[in-house]
């Protein structure tokens, strides 16, 4: 696959993700979440507006809104995958992107399970790093493998997860044996 083809594939994932996000969203929350994503209101204002139109606990409201916001962030990242980006940064590392009171500490075990499920195609066994088109990303978000998975092949992979992507340079990906140097 050429850099340009990979770039287009990642854009297709972004488009599909945006459509899926819109389909699953409570319509009454959409304009509020749009304002949240656009940085037009703080969390206090957003919670107040959301609670007025969507009957749910604060935890559930936060979950819906923050999941949408994290998805929007990831979709923006996927949309930035130009041929040059995938050539110079061919892989992603799974890293903690947000603090949690009680962080889930099973991501290495999940990585192992997802890697085994996909034959470690384009993925490291010793580090949470994989090529941008590795099937391990889809496996991490696959509800048939992980009960709390969302069905995304991009962060957030699981309910309430703060794990996200950090780009990995071609030099580092070569050191890890993922690409030729």
């Amino acid at each position: 696959m050429t850099d340009k083809e990979l770039s287009e594939k990642l854009h297709e994932i972004a488009r599909a993700g945006a459509i899926a996000a819109a389909r699953h969203l409570a319509p009454e929350l959409q304009p509020i979440i749009d304002d949240f994503n656009a940085g037009k209101a703080n969390l206090a204002e957003i919670r107040e507006r959301a609670a007025a139109v969507f009957a749910a606990s604060e935890a559930r409201l936060d979950f819906v809104m923050k999941t949408q916001r994290r998805m929007a962030q990831s979709l923006g990242q996927l949309a930035a995958q130009t041929p040059g980006q995938v050539r110079r940064y061919p892989a992603w590392r799974l890293v903690r992107g947000g603090t949690r009171r009680e962080p889930r500490n099973d991501w290495e075990a999940r990585w192992l399970a997802a890697g085994n499920a996909t034959g470690w195609q384009g993925a490291c066994k010793d580090d949470l790093v994989a090529l941008k088109d590795s099937p391990i990303w889809g496996a991490l978000g696959d509800p048939s493998i992980f009960r709390d998975a969302i069905g995304n092949s991009f962060p957030p992979f699981a309910f309430g997860s703060g794990m996200t992507w950090q780009r990995v340079s071609r030099d580092e990906a070569a050191e890890l044996g993922l690409v030729d140097g």
């Binding site: 656009a38 940085g39 929007a72 962030q73 930035a80 903690r96």
Partner: protein
Amino acid sequence: MADMSVNIKTPQLDGIIERLDPGARAELHREIAAEISETVRDHLRSYALSHHKRATELGARPTGNLEDAKVEAFSDSDGATVTVAALGIRRALGPLEIRPKNKQALTIPVAAISYGRSVAYLKAHGIDVFRPKGKDYLAYKENPKSQFSTVIYILARRATLKHEPDLLPRKEELAANALEAARDYIMEGNAA
């Protein structure tokens, strides 16, 4: 949202860009915008992980305003733009004065219960928030029969958030990364 211009013009680049047709110029700008957006995204993530001082002090859950900020890249044959959608991001460029919108005073949270929650939200959830006579704060009673109340918001006509130059990457870093993206584009033979 914040505006920050980064000038990456160099005589060599200018000469090459001038020879590009509009389509190639748009591709080059797209590469630069993508590089800047990724640089900003990486920076915000690492900044946010180490800057939860206020929430930590109050024993509250961080709002995630920065770590989940949406960063978008736009470009055409004329140039490239990257937007960062995060409240208060303008602090990166200088002190930011905030004033109340559609109300008399800002309500600055000073307790875990009020952090990330508005007065109306707390009242809607059965918390009796009140302003003691003559005081510039709002309080509530954990136990309605108690004579003691807890201060949960400070009222202020305005507040100034201090300049946080480290909130965004330095201009020099952005310029260097943008230049690297441009060089890579050209080295790949796209400017031939």
